[in-house]
Symmetry: C2
Amino acid sequence: MTLKVPLSPLQKILLTTDGSVTRILEAIRGREIFVETEKQKIIKADKKIAGLLKIKEGDKVNYRAVNLRDLSGVLIHAISYAPLKRLRKEFREDVMKRDVPIGKILAKLKLEARREIKNFGSMKADKKLSTLFGIPVNALLLKRNYNIIHNNEILLNVTEVFPYEFFR
Amino acid sequence: MTLKVPLSPLQKILLTTDGSVTRILEAIRGREIFVETEKQKIIKADKKIAGLLKIKEGDKVNYRAVNLRDLSGVLIHAISYAPLKRLRKEFREDVMKRDVPIGKILAKLKLEARREIKNFGSMKADKKLSTLFGIPVNALLLKRNYNIIHNNEILLNVTEVFPYEFFR
């Protein structure tokens, strides 16, 4: 862990696990976690996203921004990029049309995959994230980025963000 | 959760995660977790084990009993059964000859897999486990059983046990 702030065990688990984060949130909260899709659209990969996903510039990518939440509010904000050509039909339908967490899609489709944690760090809350989480502007957030790999190719690149004051 | 005793968030995470348990222990403890191999041998599947792994009676199976520990003591005791014919060479070497946690073997070999949690529950410590964990005989233990699935076949069946008084 290279962060300059002390982390709680739960925060360390959320930043380093290679399992489903929704499952962990459900264990912590003891109740079902819901996905609320904030934005979902098909985009064409620019240079940065093409590099991230190891695809060609201009390839179609599904962009999804969601909130993982329970009744008390939003716990984690997650952004994912998925190359359309690598998503089989059922996966594509679930990730594009339904409010289903990625981990549950993988489990439902019995997809064998692995999560490769690329990095984690911190950032400050902008106005949008401060409103979303109900925290002050500039409050500290923790974030991480990982790939979900299937057939030796990147199926999804995911960034997860949550307030430093959560899960302490 | 169907256990009759209240569980802490960390205990619920350890019983329900579909990620690497060693990784979670390292996050909780903030230091490296070691595997201590207690017993490892090749056995022939009896009826029960054949049913568990969906193989034929008499097929060769690697049996491994290990302790996941840090310098303070044993945290989790784990028993696994793996059909030899489904283990590729490198996996076989690591699981049979070296003190490496399963999750680290999977990551190192970049194996795509999924963990299917079959059940969890409680049991009482016998003399051996009470000595191992440094707890009284008959103290409550939590346990779970899961399959690690690769190529749609059971690569390993794993049982993990830890004292109820740990991770509270």
